[in-house]
Amino acid sequence: MAAADSPSAALRRRDLCSRGIRLAGKMRADVVDLLDAYVEQQGLDASASVAAVEGVPLAAVERWDEQTGTQRLLENLAAYRAFRALLAQMLEEQREQLGEADAGLGRALAAVLLQVSAFAYHLEELLRLESRGVPGEEGDGPPPPPRLSLFEQKLRGLGVLRELAQWAVRSARDLRQLAKPSPATGAAPGLAESP
């Protein structure tokens, strides 16, 4: 908390929150656009219902408003690290499938991947400001997903992007919540409650 008390740390946190919120907003917009392009490119139905994809964290959570700041940050970080791996895999698969035929979709995926990475960086910085250790990424990362068919890959990609869009919305709300000044605790509302 010592770091949180310093004015520069408060400014830094506010700045990180602000830009994180906007990054989340841009990420959502880009993902939504990417979804359209992806659906069209992969020949999927935009209204297709995709069941929960394994390894993809869900944005929906109960008692969202009861979460502490640190908890929010940790959940977000875990989710975006997962998205980063999933998107990297999607990009790999995309290149394998289409080569350079659809560079636009590949660039859009890469851009979203960068945004996910950038957002994860924001979260890590915020956690550092909270004097919380940044949880290390799990060794080799999540276990490699089972080998899927091409269609399953497409559906999984659709699920990843949809969930990422959801997470972008939630992350923005989480950061806004973090950025709200708390009269009791000053600049770090809720963080004191974090375990």
């Binding site: 906007r22 907003g25 959502r28 990475s117 960086y121």
Partner: protein
């Protein structure tokens, strides 16, 4: 001999060493090498190279380091820079690498002074890269989702080497691929830019001499975005005529970046843009209603945007879109004025109402018509007259009086406020004071001092003054609190007549006028001067004023420049109102050149030269000379006449001595001979053939001045000569000739006529008469030297009888002659001369001519019986004296008629003064 072969062998070895393939596979086995091999050196640094000889060459070729020569290109490096390190190594040192050139060669001077190249290197000289400076980046939006970041920097000095620049950027935990510029060394563009994460950007420059990095630039790319300008801009009319609604689309979603805007607009024909206050458009939006516009006006709009917080860059201005505001009722009444023509009748005016069309921003639409209302203020009972007019003028015939004219402009929306003009019966109010013009910044301003009373407004009239056309009046209205206005449409170098009228609530002031130029120039031509009158020492010059078109400004003065051919030029300045000037103190009879110059404030122009010559004599000088001379001459003549008059007795005594009258002598009664014949034929008597041919009778008309020609004088000369020849022989017979002296008398007598002196001795002489001109004298008069007295009885009465038969005129003539003789006898000769002189218009010369010549050859009959030669001459004179008219005079003293005269040829007493020829 050995040595010689030894050197040959050595050279051969060297060649073999150089040319033979070496064991390592190379084609050339060098006898040495240079280190460093092809170095890259910093410019300005020092450098040392070593040439190392192979041992094999030493052994066989007998060459050593002391024999090494260093060369730069083909130039030998001075020996001072060499150093022999050992027998196989030689070094060369350069304190400044800028003196180096490629190649640097190591050569050896073998025995026999044969120079062989051992090795060579290429030296590259350059600079290490400087630290790139001034790194800056901008993110350009290329499309809705595409952004590129272009960074530029200052690469620093030229390195003369191949220097690599690369733009590097990274996130704290992620490094991105470098951006390597193509074809340039000062900018690079990154395509995969991501927002909302601080990115560290820097430039790295590297070449063979080193590496340098710029200061890092840490920036979130979202803060350096130059977005695309809004698209699909459209303009629509609002509900009000002063509002237009502007709509557009943004390229950037609010999720990425919220924007603020700039909106600019202008009237379509205007060039100046107006801007909507930035505070009004500082929030994200896609439309905006621009207010405060002019009705019925076409506007052009443009918009741009940037990040709402002001970070980054403004986009370019969007494409321009136009919109038209709707009509509104005219905002003001048209400026109204009048021109009153009273020339037809002072009691009945022709009033030309004129007004200016409203400006577009005042008309607020299309003016459909004007409504003119005229109210006679002097008569309340008079009805108000209304006129609907579509033009901007209206003419009324009004009786003299005070009127109030109201004008309204109307468009499709409504009517303008009324313009009211009061036309008073007389402009009796106070005029403006101190009217002046002020050319300022190529505009002509007219200013005035307001009169004391409250002025509603002023009317400023002006017109271009022209000599060839009427003044076309232009006008404008200024408000009452204005005392200076700029006149529109004023051209330079033109004269304008400006008049200002103050308008009061209850009347109008009289106009004050001033002439003005916006700019003046020198006149376009000079005055043409000429002389009106030239005298001996003065000349009157005259010229015409330049026309107003030629003046180009106010003529401040005229300058007259005149000079003689070889004299200095004299300059005279003349008031510009003058058109005439008198040059004085000129030299007489001298050629002068004069020209004239007209001057304005901005220069002068000279007219053509004009030359004139002054007169030799001044006015009255000739008269002053001639008149006194004439007067003096007349005075002399008069004095002479007076002198003659006073001394007439003396003159008479000396010139005309008293000649005794022979008729009174005793011998008059004696007639020595009888006339040879008696011819009673009157005609024959008068004009006996051949008897008168020796008498010349001269009739001279008094006014026939030409008759006194030299030709006519010749006979007289002859006569004079004859007289001269007879001098001493004449005895003054007849005593009648004033010209005859007692001893120089000329006697023209008939045949037988005798001349007798009263002296005791009567001399008779023979007189040979000359004929007149070419006439041959037929008579010879002999003068007797006899002293015998004449007898009265000797005179023959027949002679008189014959005379009685002659015509009355002849009688009268002879009587007159007789009388004249008497007069001649009684009166002094001078008097007769005087008469003649008087008759011949005072020409004294004429008198002389009269005596000696006769213009007319008409013979004058002479009475042979009684008339003497003197009488004949006397008659001549008398004839001339009296002119052509011989007035009959009855000589009462002559008691005898011709018939009564004794017809004897005896000497007789000739009472008439005549005498008979003997």
């Amino acid at each position: 001999m050995f040595s010689r072969w030894n050197w040959v062998a050595c050279g051969f070895y060297l060649v073999l060493n150089i040319c033979s393939p070496d064991a390592s596979g190379g084609l050339v086995q060098s006898c040495g090498h240079i280190i460093p091999e092809s170095p890259v050196l910093a410019l300005g640094s020092n450098f040392t190279a070593l040439c190392i000889l192979n041992e094999s060459c030493l052994d066989f070729g007998n060459i050593y380091a002391s024999q090494i020569i260093w060369k730069i290109k083909n130039r030998v490096v001075p020996k001072e820079q060499y150093r022999e390190i050992n027998r196989t190594v030689s070094s060369v040192t350069f304190n400044d690498t800028s003196a180096l050139a490629t190649p640097l060669t190591c050569n050896i001077l073998a025995d026999g002074q044969i120079e062989q190249n051992i090795y060579g290197i290429t030296v590259t000289v350059g600079l290490a890269p400087e630290k790139p400076k001034n790194l800056s980046c901008i993110v350009h939006q290329m499309s809705r989702f595409t952004y590129v970041m272009t960074c530029t920097w200052n690469p620093g000095r030229h390195t003369f080497l191949d220097t690599q620049f690369r733009l590097r950027y990274r996130w704290p935990e992620e490094i991105f691929p470098d951006c390597i510029p193509k074809d340039v060394n000062n900018s690079c563009t990154i395509t995969d830019i991501q927002f909302f994460v601080n990115t560290e950007i820097w430039v790295e420059a590297a070449n063979a001499l080193g590496k340098a990095e710029s200061d890092p630039l840490v920036v979130d790319p979202i803060n350096i975005v130059k977005p695309l300008s809004p698209q699909n801009v459209s303009v629509s009319s609002g509900l009000l005529p002063t509002i237009l609604k502007l709509s557009w689309e943004n390229w950037i979603s609010n999720a990425v970046m919220t924007l603020k805007f700039n909106i600019r607009y202008r009237i379509v024909d205007d060039t100046d843009w107006m801007e909507v206050p930035s505070d009004d458009t500082a929030s994200p939006r896609t439309s905006f209603s621009v207010q405060g516009l002019r009705p019925y006006t076409e506007y052009v709009f443009s918009i741009r945007c940037m990040k709402e917080d002001g970070m980054g860059y403004w986009s370019d201005w969007s494409e321009e879109k136009t919109g038209f505001t709707t009509e509104d009722q005219p905002s003001k009444g048209p400026p109204l004025w009048r021109i009153i023509d009273k020339s037809h009748s002072p009691a009945c005016w022709t009033v030309h109402l004129i007004w200016k069309a409203l400006k577009p921003f005042e008309a607020n639409g299309v003016i459909l018509q004007y409504e003119v209302t005229v109210r006679d203020k002097s008569s309340l009972s008079s009805p108000v007259k209304k006129y609907n007019v579509t033009s901007t003028n209206h003419t009324l015939e009004l009786p003299e009086g005070t009127y109030e004219v109201t004008l309204i402009a109307r468009n499709s929306v409504g009517a303008s406020p009324p313009s009211v003009l009061l036309i008073p019966a007389s402009n009796s109010k106070a005029p403006v004071k101190n009217l002046r013009t002020l050319p300022k910044h190529d505009k002509l301003w007219v200013g005035w001092t307001a009169p004391n009373s409250n002025v509603l407004k002023y009317v400023i009239e002006w017109c271009l003054v022209s000599s060839s056309s009427d003044c076309i009046i232009e006008w404008q209205i200024a408000l009452g609190d204005v005392q200076e206005v700029e006149l529109k449409g004023i051209k330079p170098f033109k004269c304008y007549l400006i008049t200002v009228y103050p308008l009061y609530a209850d009347g109008q002031g009289s106009g004050q006028s001033v002439k003005a130029y916006l700019k003046q120039d020198r006149p376009s031509k000079g005055p043409t001067v000429q002389t009106k009158k030239v005298g001996k020492a003065e000349a009157v010059l005259t010229w015409n004023h330049l026309t107003v078109e030629e003046q180009n400004g106010f003529i401040r003065n005229y300058t007259i420049l005149y000079k003689t051919i070889d004299g200095n030029e004299t300059v005279v300045t003349v008031d510009p109102s003058k058109t005439e000037y008198t040059l004085s103190s000129l030299t007489s009879d001298t050629l002068y050149t004069v020209r004239m110059m007209a001057s304005t404030d901005n220069g002068s122009r000279t007219g053509p030269d004009f030359t004139f010559t002054t007169q030799k004599f001044g006015k009255g000088e000739i008269e002053a000379i001639v008149v006194p001379v004439c007067l003096a001459f007349l005075l002399i003549v008069l004095l002479g006449v007076l002198f003659c008059f006073n001394k007439r007795d003396l003159i008479k005594k000396h010139i005309w001595p008293i000649v005794p009258d022979p008729s009174k002598s005793n011998i008059a009664q004696w007639s020595p001979q009888v006339p040879a014949k008696h011819n009673f034929n009157a005609k024959d008597q008068m004009y006996p053939e051949g008897s008168f041919t020796d008498v010349s009778v001269v009739e001279i008309e008094a006014d026939d001045k030409k008759s006194f020609s030299e030709q006519d004088l010749k006979p007289f000369d002859l006569l004079k000569k004859e007289k001269s020849t007879s001098e001493g022989h004449s005895s003054g017979i007849g005593g009648s000739s004033c010209m005859s002296s007692p001893r120089q008398s000329v006697s023209d007598s008939d045949e037988g006529e005798t001349t007798q002196n009263t002296s005791s001795t009567v001399q008779y002489s023979t007189v040979v008469l000359n004929g007149y001109r070419d006439q041959t004298p037929a008579q010879v008069f002999s003068r007797s030297e006899s002293t015998q007295p004449l007898l009265d009885s000797e005179e023959r009465p027949e002679d008189h009888a014959g005379g009685a038969d002659s015509p009355a005129q002849r009688q009268q003539y002879f009587r007159q002659n007789g009388g004249q003789d008497e007069i001649n006898t009684d009166r002094p000769c001078f008097e007769r001369t005087k008469q003649i002189t008087h008759a011949s218009e005072g020409d004294l010369v004429g008198f002389v001519q009269l005596q000696i010549s006769g213009q007319s050859s008409q013979p004058l009959g002479l009475g042979m019986e009684k008339n003497t030669q003197e009488a004949a001459l006397s008659n001549v004179l008398q004839t001339y004296t009296e002119g052509q008219t011989v007035r009959p005079e009855t000589v009462e003293e002559n008691p005898l008629s011709v018939d009564e005269m004794p017809k004897s040829y005896l000497p007789q007493t000739v009472r008439q003064g005549g005498y008979m020829p003997q």
